[in-house]
Symmetry: D3
Subunit: 303 residues, 6 copies
């Protein structure tokens, strides 16, 4: 029964390596890169717990991922939880091992610092990628409290190291009081498309995703979904909630709108379980990861 | 004061039978038909508690139900909480007693299994009824874990026993990962109108309800509102939450859109209090039941 | 770091008087005027706590309030928590002291009773004001349980005492089961514009605010935002939640739509922390107060 | 089933007056006399909810109260929640009506202010009474913020009005940081026996209760149990928690130790439900009230 | 790191059968035998989650179980969650499979109904066993609501079927208001030793356990620990909390006092996660299960 | 009123330096040294919030600290939250500045890593100190995951650097499953007195504190109180809860038992607010800090 069984992602089989897999779920229990509320280290575990409710097929889109490709849960990356640079290196190596198996990682976070080393590993396999970045925050600071590595800097670092194809980066949902009115300018200078949340209010994002598909072409794309992109009504369990956010429906439209792209991996980050006693934030993260799985290349659609 | 007094539904008088009533509120503290999270047995009690905030008239629609018809709280149906088939029989008998008094039941649930015996009793009084079924799930499985009776099967059972007029059944809000892409096919075959949640996104449901009113005509109609039809942002306190759901506003549009129909009863089910520490889910259920009361035949509208 | 430092509003400097300030944040820890759930006395403290996440500039509108005007947190008004009429008098005096310093109060509440003495003090400085009142409730009862002073009567009292310019009062978001279908009639008779929540459903409120700006002209305006105007999905932590409410986005549109008006003060009231374990309600209140600051006369916009 | 049925105290019959009863449960939804956290207005309702778990007989003591005396739930006293002196008068009248029926009130609170008018009514019936007062606080202030009526003054007021027999007053469990080291001196001067909590640590209170029984003789005694007497580990849901308190076991020893006394009424106060999401505080209050019932004169013991 | 990795019990390896094991942890996600609050079906999952904090050795007793015997987590028993008699049969078979591998089951519950089929399976392997039953309730009813199988009847059923050696049964911690003062009499008649909680107050249970060891001799013993034996201060997350219970320290003394006995299995039951947002109840259950492991025959003590 | 006013510690005046103070409260919002649950970075803020309930004098001991010595809240130490070694250095410098003003720091934590740099600063002022260390854990590991700095290593590091006088170190309350049975041996070798929690069960710790006073003599002593020393029933809001812990009463006995010692500073650490929705853990920490203030040299006792 659903209340029973080990809490692996979607109650999938667990294996210790990504060998033989087309895609895998993998967790990164990290929260020492967080600026506000902590707790995201417990994100992977609670995402798995809530994922036990998810059935295997996608009646909305017709996707039957488990009839199409080989998927498993490969557990969490073992990381140094006292030292952020070392944790970043642990993550880079862990993801590299996965992608070298030709397996696409779908990553359960964990604070957003983790996307920097993930993109390092992705680059090693695929070169610079396009990026669908859904977030309340641009996460492109040069530093935070003087540090180069933190959850507000991953995309700056990744771009500097050539992991991102600037003309194929879109950031959706940005908002919130800011340190400086120039906060989005660096990204714009690199060619990033910025979609402030105000442009998303009161509408479907399906048309936006048509543009995104054109923008991305058939080159590799990575999806990074910070759960704080959603309004706190939908996802209160996060470290830096910002009001006036996306709806879950818009989140689904974004992921489903990636169908047909050459997705090489994705993540859902910043789930902080202690701040949502209902479990909805983690349940949402689990479903978004399932939807990412459903748009991976190779997944068959039976409708 | 509102914080005071026994927590009957809307602080109405309590009576032990439905004699002399046009409508009654009645609770069914059942949750052993649940597949995921339990807790719905506490639904009736918390719906009553939160209902103490509700005032007696409906300024939005002009309905003054208590000036129009006779209503009371008749308490809960005493059921066997260790044996689902017996509980189903207890419920059938309890509702039958109510309808035999020519009293329309508005039922506080309780897991959705309960709607099967309610419909059995309704049929005995009214014959096959039309159904406005609002839910994330079709609840038309043939069996669950080999059992014929469970919260995923009530409408299959009810239809098989002639309780439902298949051409006048509509299911609104269906969604969520599924066991099989064929999950809605059985209902379609019986003539059910299926409205997946995606057809409801970003719009008012008032136009849909115009169609529903045509579809139902003046023959008897039952309303079954599974609170999980609503998005977990609005109703986290439920056993099988599914993201991307209806808004509460859409829920209100559905019930208010039933005005003029020959409503013979209704329920709000699957409220699981332990999963919503704010009480909003139960408060929403209480209001939806009040709105059902406001659209019962015989209620006067003073605007 | 954001988790550190004394929890003043937005971690601003604290000063004991409003001397030298253009605007100030001030708290009113009152909840003895409440009819349902209490807890709003803890509102100011939790609004401050959650406000520690808010950065100083408004990237959505370009406002940089702290580069434009002098602002500080002046703490809470010391009030008699056992005696509502005395508390009302304490509040009136406290706000009067602030406005006499030519300082605009942005007030953290606290139950809505407080807006009555605030408006008394505002009147003494500015004469009758226009009012943007966002609320699920009209709060224009003549009395509650026989009392003239309570959280359901402030605008009746204030109007009677000449604090309000009836032709420039708008009430947005009204809804909910009512004592009488005539509940909004008194206000209409005084010339108030009533916008029931149903007129707000499924749409942007930006067009409405254009009308409001015309209606208000350049005479003084006060903004009173009862957090229960928002749907409980967005703001569960309040004393009298009503389903079917405004979205936070609409709340932001209302405040941002006040740009250009001659705002002389504002409040966010009815935040009851114990009913929202996620902190989102208080965070929302903190942001709405920040947005009010951003539309004060004199604030420069750098975009 | 236990999850079902209207939430009257212990699921007893409800009646509107105390006529024909030997004892009754009655609620007082008051919290405007509170100095710290509010919420106690919801105490009676949640005590009733949790009381639904309590079975009818006392296997520890052999008491079978419902086979011995006539008991019912008479609902809540309707009080003015905006005006403390009026609420106090409402309570006095409400309790007076009960005692005039020769019915002993067991009162569900509500903040401790309520014990003042209860004692006024008790005095009118029984003259000055002995008092077993279990509390972290002496509640004998002359005034709070200049007010004579508040939850920190009831026993001062009651004594001044001749409701208490000073030589037969005991206060058990006093503790906590204080305004003045003289806080207990007024009581001592009136002959009160003060038992600071430190005298209770690490021991059974059964020997103390032997002394209490001697001290009280066979003259009338009232029991007032402030739930904050218990350590917050046992009763977190209260307005003024103080660490280092009594255990629930000691609380039971106190009430059971009153067996044989001429108890004329009792209360459990200061239960603030929003501060205890587990319900344990209210469950404890419900059980303490049941134990008070079991030691009322006339209750038969079958062991 | 502790926050990472799949949440198996104590992060042990998971295997699908008990083959080759001396002992195993196994979960039973059952709560349809519950009379009050449900939620215990989520017990096994949350016990595993909280168990991730537990390190491998017992510094208090010197036990190093993992250096002594072979242990793993074998997951949950797949049971019919809609039909209690079938679930009981599923459990019997599941445990039988384990014991036939000469593996001792340490079971994570789940409502107490489950101990009946566990004892059936144990009997098949070991014959009638001695029982250390720690509980607030005797669970020896003949029926509940007319049903023979429920969480209040397991030890009656087990005794009737010869699973228990009546002279070697001890029930520790019994208390709480009761249906009848004769509730413990049936057990006494079968020779059970009853230790009401009052005999445990204010003292160590180490002396009691000396007696227990004598009583049990070297014949097989099963330990069944209902978490509601503990006071709700220690274990609020349970379905039928009773005040005045054991301390966790007494719970540890009981389990550690079983050292030297011929333990053939054990369980911790009635953990209902939704009623304890802190996780302490599940953490306590996890530790009690670890302590049971430490007293299994064959475990070496290195002090 | 208590619900009002800025949440400084005990609502004391706030000043930016320790100049002119005999003692100060200072916060350290650190949690990146945590091995299990995070959240302690929010400890200082919530301790201050809950401290607003605390009155100024100690009726149990007669201490009137604010009539004796100069005390204020100096806010939080600004630290690098992304880099533990830098944070440690920030803390060392911050505390050094305080002690150089001849001010005794009473520190609100924050994870236990912080006590290492505090002791570094204390040593610079006072030389090696005696230590009263109350904790479930010895925190004397040589490293954790290969790191020398973490919340499990502070006392090893401090001892190695000559901050501690090994013969005057006592560790009280140690317990819990361990990595190795040798976990306490290193401390014993340095002369530390180890008091496992089992030696504390069922008894007052007042006699132990007599010994401690002899052991410490009149040389400087530091008190470090990890809130996880208390049982999770008393303090669930912490990162590494261990069952079977001290009672709050024992905690009070320990601090009060330090009266007469030459206390040079103290801390209460590991308060993780998200894991205790009742606030009791933070309230307890606030009271323990108040009790530490009451035993500082120079505080007058008026009884
Ligand atoms: Mn981000
Ligand atoms: Mn973000
Ligand atoms: Mn359903
Ligand atoms: Mn459903
Ligand atoms: Mn209002
Ligand atoms: Mn309102
Ligand atoms: Mn009191
Ligand atoms: Mn008290
Ligand atoms: Mn049991
Ligand atoms: Mn039990
Ligand atoms: Mn520590
Ligand atoms: Mn510790």
């Amino acid at each position: 029964i659903r209340a029973g069984g080990l809490a692996s992602m979607m109650r999938l089989p667990v294996q210790s390596t990504a060998e033989g897999l087309d895609a895998c779920f993998v967790g990164i229990p990290l929260d020492i890169g967080t600026s506000n509320r902590s707790g995201a280290r417990m994100g992977p575990r609670q995402i798995r717990t809530e994922s036990c409710m998810i059935r295997k097929n996608n009646i909305a889109t017709g996707a039957c991922p488990f009839e199409s490709i080989q998927v498993a849960d490969v557990g969490d990356i073992n990381l140094n939880t006292y030292n952020l640079p070392k944790a970043v290196e642990d993550i880079r190596k862990g993801i590299l091992t996965i992608v070298r198996h030709n397996c696409k990682p779908l990553v359960l976070g964990g604070d957003h610092t983790m996307t920097y080393p993930i993109l390092q590993a992705i680059k090693e396999k695929h070169g610079p990628v396009g990026l669908v970045h859904v977030d309340a925050h641009a996460d492109c600071h040069d530093e935070m409290l003087g540090e180069k590595i933190a959850h507000g800097t991953p995309f700056r670092r990744a771009f500097e190291e050539g992991c991102l194809d600037g003309a194929r980066v879109i950031q959706i949902g940005l908002r919130g009081p800011c340190y400086s009115l120039q906060d989005y300018d660096w990204g714009k200078k690199q060619g990033f498309r910025i979609v402030p949340v105000e442009e998303c209010w009161h509408k479907s994002l399906t048309p936006l995703m048509e543009e995104v598909r054109k923008m991305m072409g058939d080159k590799p794309v990575y999806i990074s979904f910070d759960i704080d992109a959603l309004d706190p009504a939908y996802a209160p369990g996060t470290g830096t909630p910002e009001i006036g956010g996306l709806t879950t429906i818009q989140g689904l439209e974004i992921i489903r709108g990636c169908r047909g792209l050459n997705i090489v991996g994705g993540d859902v980050v910043e789930v902080s379980p202690p701040y949502d006693p209902t479990g909805t934030t983690a349940l949402t993260a689990a479903n978004l990861l399932f939807e990412m799985l459903c748009v991976l290349p190779g997944v068959k659609y039976n409708i």
